[in-house]
C-alpha cells in the first residue's frame, strides 16, 4: 500500500500515468487511491513522483 503525503503532492498526475493497475486518480486536485486495486509490492508511483509525495508503507 501507499501513503499519499497530501501536503507535498503537486497534483501533477505523473503517478496516475504510470500506475499499471489504474488504482490512482486525480479527482479535481485531489489524488485518490483505490486500495482494492493498488498492488502491495509495486512502487512505480512513489519512484516517479517528482515531489516525493508518495511513500510506500511497509505492511
Amino acid at each position: 500500500m501507499i501513503t499519499i503525503r497530501r501536503e507535498v503532492c503537486g497534483y501533477c498526475g505523473a503517478c496516475v500515468s504510470v500506475c499499471p493497475s489504474g488504482a490512482l486518480e486525480l479527482i479535481d486536485a485531489y489524488l485518490s487511491v483505490d486500495s482494492r486495486l493498488c498492488k502491495p509490492k509495486c512502487k512505480l508511483c512513489s519512484t516517479v513522483c517528482p515531489l516525493g509525495a508518495i511513500l510506500r508503507s511497509e505492511e
Binding site: 503537486g10 497534483y11 501533477c12 498526475g13 505523473a14 503517478c15 496516475v16 500515468s17 504510470v18 500506475c19 499499471p20 489504474g22 486518480e25 486525480l26 479527482i27 479535481d28 486536485a29 512505480l44 512513489s46 519512484t47 516517479v48 513522483c49 517528482p50 515531489l51 516525493g52
Partner: protein, 337 residues
C-alpha cells in the same frame, strides 16, 4: 447539461478546447467537461511554443504571451555553449492562454461545464457512447456520438475504454518547475543545461517569462523521479541564490512515444492523453492543439456520415502519424537530439 450531444470532449486544456471550438464551428452540438473548477491551473508546462505554431490556432495577444524568444542556448557539461537563432518562440502565460482558448470554444457554441468529471465511459459492447459526468454532487449520463479524450497525462478515460495508456517508468520524465523572480537573465534566450551533475539523465531549462523572471525547471527520468525537486533546489541555490521563488509546479512528460492506437469505437484520444508530448522537442502544447483540431475534423465527418466506428475514426490516427507533428524536432531544438 443535456442528455446527449454530437461530441463530448473530456478535458479543457489546449487539445480539448481546440477540438470543442472546431466541432462547434461546424455546427455540431458539443459538451466540454473540465474536472477542475477552472481551466489553466495548476500550470504544468514550460509554456513554450513556436510563434508560427501558435498562429495556426490563435492570434498572438500580449495578454497571454509572457516573453518572445529569439535564441536558444544549449550549455554542455563541459561549459561549452551553442546558440541557435532560428525562428521566434513564445513563452506563454498558460493561465490566460488556456482560458482564452476555452472562451473561443464557448463563443463558437460549445457548452462548457467546469468542476465536472467524467467518471466512467458509457459503453455498448466495445463502443464508447458517452460518459457518466459527476458535477456538484450529482451524476449525469451524457451520451455522445463521439467522445474526444483530452484528459492529459493523467488520462483515465481511454484506459477505461480499453486502450492501454500506462506509461512505463522509463518512459516518463519527472519534472519540477519554479517561477523565479528578481534574477539576471537574458529575456530573449531560452537556456538548456545538459549536466550529469545537475540533472542526471535529463536537463534543466530556463525559459524567460519577462523582466527578471523565468520558468526554471528540471526533468529527470522517472526511474529516479522522486529526486527531481532536490536537483532543482541545488541548481537554483548555485546559480540564482538571490532568486525569489513565486510558484511551484510539477509534472510528468511522456517520452514513451504515442499510443499504438489513438482511436476506438466512438473514441478519439488527443494530446498528452495520447502521449503526444515530447520532452526533446517540447511541443506538447502544439501537438495537443494539432491533434485536437484533427480529431474534430474526423469527428465532424463521422457525425455527418453516421459512422463512428473505429475503422472510420482511425483516419485520425493515420492522419497525424503522416503529418509534421509527432516527434520531428523543429529548427530550434534539433540540436538537442
Amino acid at each position: 447539461m443535456k442528455d446527449s450531444y454530437d461530441i463530448l470532449v473530456v478535458g479543457g486544456g489546449p487539445g480539448g478546447a481546440v477540438a470543442a471550438r472546431k466541432a462547434a464551428e461546424a455546427g455540431l452540438s458539443v459538451l466540454l467537461v473540465e474536472k477542475r473548477s477552472a481551466v489553466g491551473v495548476p500550470v504544468r508546462s514550460g509554456e513554450s511554443i513556436g510563434k508560427d505554431e501558435l498562429l495556426e490556432f490563435i492570434d498572438a495577444d500580449q495578454r497571454f504571451i509572457s516573453a518572445e524568444i529569439n535564441s536558444v542556448s544549449l550549455i554542455e557539461p563541459d561549459g561549452s555553449v551553442s546558440v541557435s537563432t532560428k525562428g521566434i518562440e513564445y513563452i506563454l502565460d498558460r493561465k490566460v492562454f488556456d482560458r482564452e482558448l476555452i472562451w473561443r470554444a464557448a463563443e463558437a457554441g460549445a457548452e462548457i461545464q467546469v468542476h465536472a468529471r467524467a467518471s466512467s465511459p458509457i459503453m455498448e459492447g466495445e463502443k464508447v457512447c458517452g460518459a457518466v459526468i459527476e458535477q456538484h454532487g450529482k451524476t449525469y449520463d451524457v451520451r455522445a456520438k463521439i467522445v474526444i479524450a483530452a484528459d492529459g497525462v493523467e488520462s483515465k478515460f481511454a484506459k477505461w475504454a480499453g486502450i492501454d495508456t500506462t506509461i512505463p517508468q522509463d518512459g516518463i520524465m519527472s519534472c519540477v518547475q519554479y517561477v523565479v523572480n528578481d534574477i539576471d537573465i537574458d529575456e530573449r534566450t531560452k537556456q538548456f543545461y545538459i549536466s550529469p551533475e545537475d540533472a542526471p539523465g535529463g536537463y534543466i531549462w530556463i525559459f524567460p517569462k519577462g523582466k527578471r523572471c523565468a520558468n526554471i525547471g528540471v526533468g529527470i527520468p522517472g526511474t529516479d523521479g522522486y529526486k527531481a525537486r532536490s536537483y532543482l533546489d541545488s541548481f537554483i541555490e548555485k546559480k540564482f541564490p538571490n532568486g525569489k521563488i513565486t510558484e511551484l509546479s510539477a509534472g510528468g512528460v511522456p517520452v514513451c512515444g504515442p499510443l499504438k492506437e489513438t482511436a476506438a469505437d466512438g473514441l478519439l484520444v488527443v494530446g498528452d492523453a495520447a502521449r503526444l508530448s515530447d520532452s526533446v522537442t517540447r511541443r506538447g502544447i502544439y501537438n495537443a492543439m494539432f491533434t485536437g483540431r484533427l480529431a474534430a475534423e474526423v469527428a465532424i465527418l463521422a457525425v455527418e456520415s453516421g459512422n463512428s466506428s473505429k475503422e472510420f475514426l482511425m483516419a485520425y490516427d493515420k492522419a497525424w502519424r503522416e503529418e509534421k507533428i509527432s516527434l520531428i524536432p523543429n529548427e530550434n531544438t534539433k540540436h538537442l537530439e
